[in-house]
């Protein structure tokens, strides 16, 4: 080739990666080729560390249309429709530039859904920061929230929910994950392939600039002090252009002219031209000059790896180029015809008439995996699994409850979700704060079904016990979906960890994946995609973040009007606790907030009853036997009960002596975080039916108390004296407004 070449030792690839390249190529690389290979070999693009582990996750099921590998998971939801969903991390960009980092994260995940051919209708978000009271946390939280809202609101996609966790390990390296879901007609599925030589390659949208050069490699390193200068220009999202791209893309798909579709995310044009070629068993050839650039002096390699936002890549029959052009023109969107699909199996890039890149597509898309070693981390030995706190005296209980309800990880997230449009699209029937998962109706698509979507994570459990923590996160996500009455049908995950080259970090990664995989098998739910974010390491304090898998579970409810929220409906209704309580307070709110320790046994998912518990929940809700429902998670029984009371402005009167548990201890009964438990309310005549439903599977459903008219939280333990007696209003004020007070420095309603 006519291009100057780059010395082998200057190429930023590992020895194995180089060997893989030169075995095939047997020649020197041009500079653009080296840049393309470097970015495609980065952790972020190649999944080189995680690839050997991820196959543990079950990916098959009768509903699965596309599993891992495509841009997003696709599942069949009947009525000719498919649900498309995915989540992704944007941790490093958000840690340094929280507004733009979070905003472009949202932009990226929307593209993933769109490029399967679906209309994106819902967004979710998951944040992990240091302590809430810390000024840096507030700065991050404020701008991240503004970024997620700024993008999502402007592009007109409703927020369906999310989760937030505060823990010192995220002080510097916060974790920002965002998810999106969309709906499409099954027959409109668009794949990222270029199958037919002669088809044209069209690039739609924004111009290509220096922003985000090396973004993928940036996400594949620790954040350091140099990180700032490390980055090319920051990426700025343009939700207005994205909105036009969404409408134009959907219109193009409807008109039948789209043969293949790929979004431009990590690795930009490089990724598009190689993945479409490799997936289609073809080749691609483009002219570099055709790409519209924003800065005149951009080098070819920069253009090829730039991750500029708001671009889409289309494969179109030559005779349809003008047709698709007319659609783009309506929205005044610029586009270019970059080149052609070939049968060479290669990605060729021409510059001034000469090839500057000529690489087999598979060299780019299938780099070798890295062989990471895993080593048991000794911090686990220092933890005391059997640890139990001294049992608090009865008179201390009210204050313990007050503290827990006002703690960082329990207080209301309303300050955050009020900044998101939760209603746009007229889909959301259960909105943030009203239930365990967001519920979206599908009326617009001609179906009376509903989609339930939820995010869940629990870094505290995963840190103390990666295996059981990982399994627990999936169980908790599926429980949230079941709690609104939806059958969990599939999930995707985002695995946020430290540096995979550290064997002790990698061990926790392996264990978490094993835990999720075993739980998925027990629950019989497929994983249809995911994302891995490594190198989340706080250089200042030299600690990795706590292992933080975040799970996006999707559920389906046949009749959306039956979806259940978490609000008590009327006084005198019975409160039923589903499931059994065990002494599992390791990593719990109670242990951390009240006893300031990380000891104790982490909840273990009971694989034998898990699936039945969820199925029975779905069944009683769909048979309209219950009037409210909520699953037990962070903070255990007390927090769940109180959340239901606060949602309704009604009180409760509970006898915890009645609950089946492996201990008599009051504190453990109140605050244990054992999985697979739910609270439901029922009217008298349905009590027997609900108990019977669970009894078939030997799952206890226990009447523990009633909803009361007066706004008091009353808990007794086997006799007439209350061990807890708290005014609802007082607890609610603290819980509801503490985040706002922290963030605004004052109360405003």
């Amino acid at each position: 080739m006519a291009q100057e070449t780059i010395q082998q030792d200057e190429i930023n690839l590992t020895a194995e990666e180089k060997a893989a390249v030169f075995k095939v190529l047997q020649r020197d690389l041009t500079l653009p080729e080296a840049a393309m290979l470097e970015v495609m070999n980065s952790e972020h693009c190649s999944y080189k560390s995680s690839r050997p582990i991820l196959p543990l996750l079950p990916t098959e099921g009768p509903r699965v249309i596309c599993g891992p590998g495509e841009d997003a998971g696709v599942v069949d939801i009947g009525d000719g429709l498919a649900l498309v969903f995915k989540l992704e991390s944007h941790n490093h960009p958000s840690a340094l530039d929280p507004y733009n980092g979070a905003a472009t994260g949202v932009g990226g995940i929307i593209r993933d859904i769109l490029c399967m051919g679906a209309r994106p209708i819902g967004l979710l978000d998951s944040f992990r920061f240091g302590k809430l009271s810390d000024p840096h946390t507030k700065w991050l939280l404020k701008h991240v929230t503004k970024g997620v809202g700024g993008y999502g609101n402007c592009v007109g996609i409703a927020n369906a929910g999310g989760e937030i966790e505060f823990d010192p390990s995220f002080q510097i390296n916060c974790l920002i994950n965002v998810g999106c879901f969309g709906i499409m007609r099954k027959d409109e599925l668009a794949l990222s392939t270029a199958t037919t030589p002669g088809d044209r390659l069209i690039l739609l949208g924004g111009s290509t600039g220096r922003d985000g050069i090396g973004g993928a490699s940036f996400a594949s390193k620790d954040i350091t002090e140099e990180s700032e200068s490390d980055r090319g220009a920051v990426q700025i999202g343009d939700p207005y252009m994205k909105k036009l791209i969404i409408e134009a893309t959907l219109e193009a798909i409807k008109s039948g002219v789209v043969e293949g579709l790929k979004d431009l995310g990590a690795a930009g044009v490089t990724c598009s031209i190689s993945e479409t070629a490799d997936a289609g068993g073809t080749g691609t050839e483009i002219d570099l000059e055709k790409i519209r650039i924003r800065e005149d002096d951009m080098e070819p390699w920069e253009i090829l790896v730039s991750e500029s936002q708001e671009r889409m890549f289309f494969v179109v029959k030559p005779e349809n180029v003008s047709k698709i052009g007319a659609i783009f023109a309506k929205y005044e969107l610029p586009y270019e015809d970059l080149g052609v699909v070939t049968d060479s199996g290669k990605c060729v890039v021409n510059h001034k008439g000469k090839p500057i890149v000529d690489l087999p597509a598979h060299l780019l898309t299938k780099p070798p995996a890295a062989n990471r070693t895993a080593e048991y981390p000794d911090y686990l030995d220092k933890l005391d699994r059997k640890w139990l706190p001294k049992e608090p005296e009865t008179k201390e209980l009210n204050d313990i409850c007050r503290k827990i309800m006002a703690s960082d990880n329990i207080i209301s997230r309303e300050w955050v979700y009020r900044q998101y449009d939760t209603e746009v699209g007229l889909y959301s029937t259960i909105k943030s704060g009203q239930g365990d998962g967001g519920v979206f109706r599908l009326t617009e698509f001609g179906s009376k079904k509903g989609i339930a979507a939820t995010f869940d994570g629990n870094s505290h459990h995963c840190y103390l016990d990666p295996y059981n923590g990982g399994a627990g996160v999936l169980m908790e996500a599926c429980s949230n979906v079941a709690a609104v009455g939806a059958e969990p049908i599939a999930f995707t995950d985002c695995l946020n960890f430290g540096n995979p080259e550290h064997p002790k970090v990698f061990w926790t990664f392996e264990k978490v994946v094993e835990g999720i995989a075993d739980a998925a098998k027990a629950l019989d739910i497929p994983c249809v995609g995911g994302n891995v974010s490594f190198y989340n390491h706080d250089q200042v304090n030299n600690v990795a973040v706590k292992p933080s898998p975040v799970i996006f579970a999707a559920g389906l409810i046949d009749d959306v009007s039956k979806a259940m929220n978490n609000k008590f409906k009327a006084p005198k209704q019975h409160i039923i606790l589903i499931g059994e309580t065990r002494t599992e307070i390791g990593g719990s709110e109670y242990t951390r907030v009240i006893h300031q320790t990380e000891n104790g046994q982490v909840p273990k998912v009971d694989f034998t009853t898990a699936k039945n518990t969820l199925a029975d929940m779905v069944s009683i809700i769909n048979s309209e036997l219950v009037t409210a429902s909520h699953d037990l998670s962070k903070g255990g029984l007390f927090v769940t009960l109180t959340e239901m009371a606060m949602a309704s402005n009604l009180g409760y009167n509970i006898d915890i002596h009645r609950m089946p548990a492996d201990t008599e201890r009051v504190d453990i009964r109140l605050f244990s975080e054992t999985h697979g438990r739910f609270l439901v309310t029922v009217i008298n005549e349905n009590l027997g039916k609900v108990v019977a439903q669970f009894a078939q599977h030997q799952i206890p459903a226990t009447l523990i108390g009633t909803v009361t008219e007066d706004k008091k939280l009353l808990i007794s333990n086997g006799n007439d004296t209350n061990i807890i007696e708290l005014p609802l209003e007082e607890i609610k004020q603290k819980w509801k407004f503490r985040m706002e007070e922290e963030m605004e420095g004052k109360i405003q309603k």
């Binding site: 340094l96 530039d97 929280p98 507004y99 733009n100 700065w139 701008h143 924004g206 600039g209 220096r210 922003d211 700032e228 980055r231 090319g232 220009a233 920051v234 700025i236 999202g237 343009d238 207005y240 252009m241 924003r294 800065e295 500029s308 936002q309």
Partner: protein
């Protein structure tokens, strides 16, 4: 102590995109006949009145303040401080 007026102008970095400026130019200005406009950058301005020993001190206080209080994020923005005379 004498009083001074300082303008703090915060805008995106040179090479960063400015979708707001681009839209204002394309969809408002150019479309309505102002095609002599070649570029628009949007930013934010804070006009601060403060007491200080002298002009230099006023500027210095503002400089320290914008950095310390993160009035702008150096990763994404540039910030210019101008004493208004």
């Amino acid at each position: 102590m004498p009083k001074f007026s300082v303008e703090i102008i915060i805008e995106g970095k040179k090479n960063a995109r400015d979708p707001e400026g681009e839209t204002i130019m394309r969809d408002l200005m150019i479309k309505h006949g102002y095609d002599m406009v070649e570029s628009v950058r949007s930013g934010k301005i804070l006009k601060v009145n403060l007491e200080a020993k002298d002009e230099n001190a006023a500027e210095e206080i503002c400089l320290k303040m914008v950095n310390e209080l993160r009035i702008y994020n150096p990763v994404a923005h540039m910030c210019v401080i101008k004493l208004v005379k």
